[in-house]
Amino acid sequence: MSHSSDTKDDHAADEHPLDFAKTVRTYLKVGAVLILFTFITIAVAYMPIFDFGNKALNIGFGLLIATFKVSLVCLIFMHLNHERGLIYKTLLFTIVFAAAMMFLMVLAINSPIRGGLWQLFGQ
């Protein structure tokens, strides 16, 4: 496992034995936060106090929470908070290409089909 270390040794974990109880406590806390935010996502979808009168806001809010949850999984469970440079470089490419693919949606803004992307925002 590549725990953060200045030296590129092979067995970082062996030299810094993992504190099992402490590590698992961290994971449990993250799991609890993920569950809490799952409840919030449902609340945003169903509870009247989160009714902004605009569905797009609810969708945006829901996706924001999902993005936050995904970030937690990536950073803590997948250890992206302390990884080697090669993995970040690989993911940078992925993000660029994925973003380019999502950018295709912008082309639909003026689509003649049922008002294009704007209808998602209730306009």
């Binding site: 496992m1 034995p17 099992f20 698992v24 080697r84 993995i87 639909a108």
Partner: protein, 542 residues
């Protein structure tokens, strides 16, 4: 051969090889699911129908989210246990992870099962009714076309197949007649006397295959003969002598043709009509019957001059019978009249009026009452925050969904019967006893389904499908993405299960290697989790 850098890091990357591999794989997976999410957005913004909103039951999706989050914690805890050299904790955590995968797939299967057995009918006026098809029995034909009193079948020998054989459902006077072992008039049920040739044939797939093959042979012999005969005719037209060899060839081919034709008496015929020793009843899926799209009962079974009915299957087989039942028997659980021109005159009310029990419940009145109440509710709701929406509440998308699309359970709350007035019901006035009404209300509340059957004339059906990918693009992309995600869950569980059940030996010889393997499997498992984190709100909540 030893695989390099399974434990030690490569000097240039600083990582063991499997980790580089899994991240490259996950990068490609991001693009795969990214493309599908992008497709989802395009389908949603381009939808020419009301995009289903809050259509899926949240509870199974919610439990699955919890289960996957829990499994993400346990799989990373399993890895941590290996790093800390605590094999017992590794086994416990990995076992929980696998159990979570099983629970996830069981719930997913439960959801799929209920979708596949749930149906939607779009009527010709745009009304959509959702519910369950009644199982076919001796009284109802479910969603099949029942064609009875069949005494004559005509096979098109070039195109017919034998699919109609298993579609035989009952023999008149014997409701549970099955073709496999029973007999009609002392003969095997599919052994018939042909009309033209007065010969006995037993219709099986092999027999029909043999006839088609013989037809091929006869046609080939006939074509060869025709070619030579045409050549001879050419000579004769030009008043030239026909070469001796050619005349001999023609004679030989003629003899060959006669021989083949004699050996295969049915081969020269285009069709074969058989008379049944006793009238039979068949049940066909409407996709099997020709002209089913153009609707109208007369297109399923044309009335002939002698009063009998003729039905034509898509393979060219025709049957002559005396009765046809092509209503779809349906238990309704939801009515959606948003696309009807006039909700109060929607076709669905005709069907409920024809069912005495439902007529007594005054479903239409309950619906109208509900509709007005809900529109008023939305007017109040928007009054302060969105005055414009309040003014046009009856046209507001959310309001229309709530007011014009009601489940039967919701109707039941406002039905003109209650626990109190059930006892006061005038049973002679209503076509239902108090007990029946109580049963209806109870069923509607507990299952959301009316226990009474409505009959939808097939001619008034525009589209009919279960809640499968065929229903609309929402369900197409829903099944595609959740199905693909489910396959990832199965794949991940198999790999993690392999590590759990075969890992002991490796743990004893090289625990760091096993830890690395579990880390790689765990990274994949986390990816499966994070895909679901997006899928859940997108399909269940938004």
């Amino acid at each position: 051969m030893e695989i390099p850098y399974t434990v030690k890091s490569r000097p240039d990357t600083g990582l063991y090889n499997a980790k580089v591999g899994i991240w490259l794989f996950l990068a490609s997976e991001v693009m795969l699911f990214g493309g599908l999410f992008s497709a989802y957005v395009f389908l949603r913004i381009g939808a020419d129908f009301e995009w289903p909103f809050h259509d899926l039951h949240v509870l199974p999706g919610f439990i699955n989210t919890m289960v996957l989050i829990a499994s993400s914690v346990t799989v990373v805890a399993a890895w941590a246990a290996l790093k800390a050299r605590r094999y017992g904790w590794y086994k416990i955590n990995m076992t929980i992870t696998l159990l979570a995968a099983v629970v996830f797939m069981c719930l997913k299967s439960y959801e799929y099962y209920h979708k596949f057995t749930h149906y939607s009918i779009t009527l010709t006026d745009g009304t959509i009714i959702e519910g369950h098809v009644v199982h076919a029995d001796e009284h109802t034909n479910g969603d099949e076309i029942a064609f009875g009193g069949v005494k004559q079948i005509t096979l098109n020998l070039a195109t017919s197949n034998t699919k109609f054989l298993p579609e035989l459902r009952q023999h008149e006077g014997d409701a549970h007649y099955r073709p496999s072992t029973a007999a009609v008039s002392g003969k095997a049920w599919n052994s018939f006397l042909t009309r033209e040739k007065a010969m006995d044939v037993t219709i099986t797939a092999d027999w029909l295959g043999g006839v088609k093959s013989a037809r091929g042979k006869v046609a080939t012999a006939q074509r060869k003969l025709a070619t030579v005969q045409s050549e001879i005719a050419g000579y004769e037209a030009k008043s030239k002598p026909v070469p001796a060899g050619l005349a001999e060839k023609a004679a030989s081919l003629k003899a060959e043709f006669d021989k083949v034709a004699a050996e295969n008496p049915l081969a020269a015929d285009a069709s074969l009509t058989i008379d049944l020793p006793a009238p039979l009843q068949f049940m066909f899926a409407d996709s099997r019957v020709a002209n089913h799209i153009s609707a109208g009962p007369e297109n399923y079974a044309k009335k002939q001059q002698d009063g009998t009915l003729l039905i034509k299957l898509k393979d060219g087989t025709t049957m002559v019978g005396t009765e046809v039942k092509d209503n779809i028997h349906f238990h309704v659980d939801r009515i959606d009249v948003r696309k009807s021109k006039d909700a109060e005159k929607a076709l669905i009310w005709n069907y409920t009026e024809r069912t005495p029990e439902l007529q007594a419940l005054k479903l239409k009145e309950a619906f109208l009452k509900n509709r007005e109440a809900r529109i008023a509710h939305f007017k109040d709701k928007y009054a302060e925050s969105h005055p414009e929406r309040a003014q046009n509440a009856d046209q507001d998308e959310d309001c229309r969904r709530e007011a014009y699309r009601l489940s039967f359970a919701e109707h039941a709350e406002d039905l003109p019967i209650s626990e109190v007035n059930l006892k006061d019901m005038d049973e002679s006035k209503f076509a239902m006893t108090a007990d029946q009404a109580a049963l209806l209300v109870n069923k509607a509340h507990t299952h959301g389904v009316t226990p009474y059957t409505i009959e939808v004339p097939r001619s008034e059906k525009r589209f009919f499908s279960n809640f499968s990918p065929a229903l609309n693009p929402f369900y197409a992309i829903y099944f595609l993405m959740t199905g693909l995600h489910g396959l990832h869950v199965i794949g991940g569980a198999l790999v993690l299960g392999w590590f759990l059940f075969t890992g002991r030996k490796m743990y004893e010889t090289d625990p760091e290697h096993l830890a690395n393997r579990v880390e790689v499997g765990g990274l994949f498992w986390h990816f499966v989790d994070l895909v679901w984190i997006f899928l859940f709100p997108l399909y269940y909540l938004m």
